[in-house]
Structure formats: C-alpha cells, structure tokens
Amino acid sequence: MLLRLVPENTSLNFMALRKVALVFSVLLIIGSLALFAVNSLNYGIDFKGGISVEVQMEDKSDIPIERVKEAVAEMGYINPSVREYGEKWDAMIRLERQPGDDKAQAAVIEKLRNDLPVAIPGIIFLDGNFISPTVSGELKQDGALAVTIAVLAVLVYIWFRFEWQFGLGAVVALVHDVLLTVGFFAITRLEFNLSIIAAILTIVGYSLNDTVVVYDRVRENIRKFRKKEMGEIVNFSLNQTLSRTIMTSVTTLLALFALFFFGGEGIRGFTAAMIWGVVVGTYSSIFIASPMLLMFDIRRDAIIGEDKNDPTVDKSRPSNPFEQV
C-alpha cells in the first residue's frame, strides 16, 4: 500500500476561504511592515559593515561568553556583542566599525587573533571578517535590486506564457512571500545577511514554481470546461494539484530540515528562511495567487483563442476535450 498524504479525490472548497485568507494575509503583511519599520532587521556585517570574529574552545568545553565579552571590552573596543554560535563551545564576536580607516579595522581582527587566546586560554580563532561601509552599502543595494529584477523578470515571463492576469497574480503572491519573509526576520531577529537574499530569491523561484503548476492546470481546465464557472474551475484545479503541491513541499522540507539541523550554523539562517518560504509559498499559491485570477477577471476567449499559437498545446488531441474522457 502506497503512502498518500492527500486522499485521492479531494474537493475542498478553497475559494470559500479566500476572503478569510486575504484578510489574514493583509494583516500579516501590515504586521511585517510595521515590525520592519519599528525594529528594522538584525543586519549582518555584510549589510552593516563592521567586524566579526568567530572563536571556539579548543577542548569543546563551554565558552565563557561573559569573559570573552569582558576581554574584548578590556582591549578597548566599545560595545562588543558576543553570543553563542551554533555550539556551546563556539562564539561569535561582533564589533561596530572602530575609529580609523580600513587598515585600523583589519588591525582589530589581528589584535583579537593574537590577544584573545592570551586572555582566555584554550580559545582558538576560527574566522575573522571585516567589511567596509562602502561595500556593505552596495551589497544592500544590490540585494534589493536582485530581488526586484527577479520579480519583474518573472512577471514578464508569466505574462508572455499566460495572460497578464496570471502574471500579476503570481507577482502579488511573490511580493506577499517576500514581505512575510522580511517580517519573519524582523520578528525572529535572525541575522539578515547576503545569503538571506539568496534564500529570498530561491523562495521566489519555489513559490512561483508552485503557482505556475496551479496556473497551468487552471488554463488547461478553462479550455476543457468551457461552461463551468470560473471560481469552480480554479477550485477544481487546486484540488487536482493538491496532492502534488503537498508532496513537493514535503520532499523539499525534508531536505531543508536536514540542512537546518545538521548543516551547521553557517547556513542555519538561510535554511530557516527557506523553510518559512516553502510554507508561505505553498500557502500563497493556493490562497493568494489563485483567488487573484478571479479578482483580475480572466477573459476565457483569450486563453481559448491562444490554443492555435501555443506550441505546448497538443493539436492532435480532439478539439472537444469531452470526447476523449
């Protein structure tokens, strides 16, 4: 007997929930934006500039966070942030940009490297990183630009492949996902660094993947069932693809959870973002992207008329789809 997470012929009425879902999502987005405005994000040094140093207890004993903090402060560096990083014997030290030029920043790392093991015997230096504010500013800009360009490129592609209503629907869903991910980082205070931009773009790709699968089915069904009401078609399509949607989410989440728990601290934020993104992306393709089609009012004839030009439509099939069933 094969495992089925979703029973064979579901007929859940997703469209009935669309208003509830819409209100829910709008509230979440407002919440995310408000949190972002008030709290901002916990930017990593990629985006903030500054110095970070990762250290470790060589014998894997618990690292004395407070002592590290004191030791760094005693060297004359203001406001060091020291926290456990991944493991109990691992710590990340963060410093704001210190007075002086870029050379001075590098010297700080050098001093920490040399003096920390003296102050706290048994500590070893793993990783030192410094980024100048010019670079971090650019990285921030490039990151925002990358997300914007990706979303626009996708809009154009979907528009080209489907109708503009589909493109717009997909983009609304994407913006929804991106904003909620930003909210996720504002509330969890997870570090927002360069790899999170990569995660967001992957979320964009994933969520879109989900949306496109549903849209493809909607288009197919519009051609197949010319008499049916639109809401019914969308709902029917969602049910038809539900098994696949859940299946793919589960396999992706399986891989992501493995990364989250075993992939090391370096990519934990990245995988957390991805996990959140897969959940939100799946939700948004069902409850945001699909209802959008009804809101934007697709013209049936445009899609049916498109058949002739669409190379993906199998022309050998009977023109009346009901003949083949």
């Binding site: 992957t202 964009v204 696949r244 493995a258 992939g263």
Partner: protein, 534 residues
C-alpha cells in the same frame, strides 16, 4: 513518447556516462588521478574558501589616479612633439578634468600641429566590450581658434583603468603565487575592485604585506672582491648590502642604484643568443644615459639585476650598451619570461589598492562546514528517497535512480566547469534534491490521474509525461530566472549558490523527465501490467 530510437538511448546513456566520468576524479586519490590517461577528466570539485579555509581580500583600486597618470603622460607626449618639431610651439599646457589643453603659438602652425598630434588622436585601443568589436578612440581632439583640447573618451578611460587593474592583478598573482600552485582566485569585480582568495592561508597580514609591496627592479654594481666568508658572516663594506641570488647563494652589491625599473619604457619576452628565454627591455632617455655611462666605464665587471631584493642574474658587461636596451637572461621558461616582462612593465603596482573587506577562515571551520554539509546532504537525500518509494512504489524507485544520477551529474558538471562549491552551494544541491523530485511528482500525479480517468497503462504513462511537460518547463524556467539574476547580481558565495542551483535545474530536467521515462518505458514494455502500481 514511450518508444526510444537507438540514437536516443545512446544519447541518454552517453550523458549518464559523461556524468560518471567527470565526477569520478572526486572519488580517487591524488595518485590515482595522476595516473589517469590524458583524455580522462581529472578535475575535482573546486571548494570555496568557506569549505577549505583561507583568506579572502577585497581590494578597491584608486582608478581615478589612472586618469591623472594618463593625462600627465599625454602632456609629456605633447611636450615631446614640441621638442622634436622645429618651429612648433605649444603654450599653456593645462590638465583639468579629463582633458589636456594647450595653445598653438602661431596660427600657420595649426595644420602641422594637427598632423603631428595624429600619433595621439589616431590611436585606437581595444574595445572595453569585446562584442562591440574594433577599437575605440582614446583621445578626442577639439579646437577653438588656436586652443587645442584633447579629451579622454569614456571608453578610453575605462580601458585604461581595466588595463591598470589587470596589470595590478598580474603583479599580485606573481607575488602571492609565484609557482602557480596555490590555486589562488583573482577576479575583477565591477570596474574598480579586485577579489583575491588564497586557499589554505591563515595569515591575512602576511598576504596584505606582500600585495602592498612595491615591485622594484634595480641594477647595482657588484663587489667582486667579497669572499665567501664575508658573505656568510654578513660583513659588508660601506654602502654595500648582501642579497640572495635566485639560483642560490649570496652576492654583495653596492647600495647605489645604477638605474631602476622606473626608467623602463618597455619589457617583452625574448630569447638570448643561446635560444633561451630572456626579457628584453628598453630604457627611457634618462635611463639609457645612466646605463650607457656605467657599462662604458665598467667593461669586464659584473652588475646585478635585482628584483624585489632578489638577484635575478649578475651578467658581466661585455661592451658598452648605449642604445638603452638590453636583456635579462637566466630566466627559466618562456612563461617566466612573459611574467617577468609583464611585471617589469607594470613596475610596481600600477594602481593604489586598499583593503575594503577581509575574511580569514580557519581550516578547522572549513572542515566543519564540509562535514556538516555532507551529513545534511546524506540525511536529506535518504529522507527523500524513502519518502518517494513509500509514496510511489516502483515509480518512486525510478525517480530515485534519477535522483542519484542527478547528484552524479551535478558533481560532474561542477568539477568540469570548475565552479566553486561553497557552503550555500551545498545547500543549493540539497535543495535541488528536494525540488528535483518535483518534476517526477508532477508526472506521477498526472499518471495516477489519467489512470483513474480510465486510461490503460500505456496511454496513462504517455499522457502523464506529455501533459506534465509544459508545466515542468514553466516551473523550471521561472526558478532558472531567479538563479540567473542571483548569479548576475550576487557575489562570492551567493554566486556559488546560483551556479549549483542552475546546474541542478538543468540536470534534474534531464534525469526527471528523460531518464525516468526511459526506465519506466523499458519496464512497462517488459512487464505489461494490467494496471500501473502507482
């Protein structure tokens, strides 16, 4: 769609074989790899710094200085014309912004001036964008009455700056990795940045010192009376120093510099009279005069050619060298000669560099990251494989074969392309594992559906693959767009992630759509089940 002509089968098996061949070197030891016949791929995965430890430095280049230097140079050339051409006089030579302007002293000289300036204005330099083809003008001449203005064109400036950065990178490579064995990464980023990555290094200070050093070429008189004992004891005369010799040993030279690399105008690889590689150089007038005088007065005595405090050679002066040109011999190979020529030509760093960002990753952390990535990949992989079999039975098995092939292909492609595998890259692969099965899930779900709509196994399979295909295409192209944008706008580790993601999409399209269909069609034709077990 279920019948496969012979050529298609050959192609499918060919791709799989290629994947196995290109990924195989990763599972061999270094000795085994060296014994591979030449036609076999032997490249292994190129691990990023976060996986093997090392130092990454981002340098900013003071590109504006290049413009200034070039303008000064142009002004010099104008003065040269004035000096060499009787009656032609230029006044008020001024540099401002991107221009050099001057007055031609007499009106009747304007045509002659234009004629003579042609050496400057007709010069075209290689296009900054190779697609544009041809060359572009570096200088634009405008004239207002007797006032001439030479303006550096945008393209010209860009080319000068890129040239300077390229030369700076060459200097850096020579200094950091003289043997070419450290697998350092040197990349230009944007128009004014250089990325330097040195795997395995753990002291960024040492690297920065080396990069910041000036490459100095100097010629010195040699103290031939110094004994071995003087050299080993470090006993030098007044204003003398002991320098190591490239071929081994030491030599005592006078501190006074006969002539230095600053007076070089050109250096290019050549061959000496014995046919061995050498570097031919040319001095400017001042340098030629100094060198000529010294060689004239010291025939029969050796002089030392010193580069960065290392004596490259100490040839004996055979005759006076008055032409201002000569050769540096005792150079290993043609490639070395080329490198030295490049280095000499650029002299010291042609452009001022400042460190914008620095990252040092200890080798322990690198190994930890590899281990973590491996464990995560194995667990994620096992989870997906078990889940697929549970969900789709026999079909799940086919999908799993495809998944494993997919991993082999990704590894092969990454090794072959020498793309850098970073920790986010591993995440990209693991993510691909999860997403690669999506194509199969789409197909299998569709087959289920078609079968429950009353189709027979053959027809259900055919339609399952057929109908799902355009969906799979659309879904993958959109993800690919995201990966492409990431690659174009990302940097470093993010790019590594984008590359693995993009490769994963391509290979998974092949394995999930073509390979599984092939496996399942072969099985279907043999087993001829009344109902598909899905």
């Amino acid at each position: 769609m279920l019948t496969f002509p012979r050529w298609k089968i050959v192609m499918i098996l060919g791709v799989v074989l290629l994947g196995i061949l290109t990924s195989a070197p990763n599972f061999l030891t270094e000795e085994q790899r060296n014994e591979l016949p030449a036609f076999m791929p032997s490249k292994t995965l190129n691990l990023g710094l976060d996986l093997r430890g090392g130092v990454r430095l981002l340098y900013g280049a003071a590109v504006d200085d290049v413009v200034e230097a070039r303008l000064n140079n142009v002004a010099d050339q104008i003065r040269d014309i004035r000096r060499n051409e009787r009656g032609l006089n230029f006044r008020n030579i001024q540099i401002s912004g991107h221009t050099v302007s001057f007055d031609v002293s007499r009106e009747e000289m304007i045509d002659l001036a234009r004629e003579k300036l042609r050496d400057l204005t007709d010069v075209t330099v290689g296009a900054a964008n190779p697609l544009m083809g041809g060359g572009v003008k570096e200088l634009e001449l405008t004239q207002e009455g007797q006032r001439f203005t030479l303006t550096l064109t945008e393209q010209g400036i860009l080319i000068q700056q890129r040239d300077a950065i390229a030369r700076a990178m060459e200097v850096i490579r020579k200094r950091i990795d003289p043997d070419g064995t450290k697998e350092i990464v040197l990349q230009m980023e944007g128009n004014d940045r250089i990325i330097l990555e040195v795997p395995g290094a753990d002291d960024p200070e040492a690297i920065k010192d080396l990069v910041g050093r000036t490459a100095k070429l100097t010629f010195h008189d040699v103290n031939t009376t110094a004994s071995q004992e003087d050299l080993s004891r470090g006993r030098t005369g007044l204003r003398e120093k002991i320098l190591p010799v490239q071929d081994g040993g030491m030599i005592m030279v006078k501190e006074r510099v006969i002539v230095s690399g600053e007076d070089l105008t050109d250096a290019k690889p050549a061959y000496d009279q014995n046919g061995r590689p050498s570097v031919a150089f040319t001095f400017n007038t001042a340098g030629a005069r100094k060198f000529g005088r010294h060689t004239q007065e010291n025939i029969g005595r050796p002089f030392a050619i010193v580069l960065d405090e290392l004596v490259i050679s100490a040839p004996t002066i055979q005759s006076a060298i008055m032409g201002g040109s000569g050769q540096i011999t005792n150079i290993g190979s043609v490639a070395d000669a080329q490198e030295l020529a490049v280095l000499l030509k650029s002299g010291s760093l042609p452009i001022e560099l400042s460190v914008l960002s620095e990252r040092a990753i200890g080798p322990d952390l690198g190994q930890e990251n590899i281990d973590a990535g491996e464990i995560a990949a194995i667990i994620g992989f096992a989870g997906v494989i078990v889940y697929m079999v549970l969900s789709y039975g026999r079909f799940g098995l086919a999908a799993n074969v495809a998944l494993i092939t997919n991993l082999v292909l990704i590894m092969g492609a990454l090794s072959f392309l020498q793309a850098t595998l970073t920790l986010p890259g591993i995440a990209g692969i693991v993510l691909t594992i999860g997403m690669a099965v999506d194509a199969n899930v789409l197909v299998f779900e569709r087959i289920r559906e078609e079968q429950s709509n009353g189709r027979n196994p053959f027809s259900a399979m055919e339609h399952g693959y057929g109908e799902a295909f355009s969906t799979i295409m659309d879904a993958n192209i959109t993800t690919f767009i995201a990966a492409a944008v990431l690659y174009m706008l990302g940097s470093g580790p993010v790019q590594g992630f984008a590359v693995t993601l993009a490769i994963g999409i391509l290979t998974s399209m092949f394995t999930a759509v073509v390979l599984t269909r092939f496996i399942l069609a072969t099985w279907l034709k043999r087993a001829r089940p009344a109902k598909l077990p899905i």
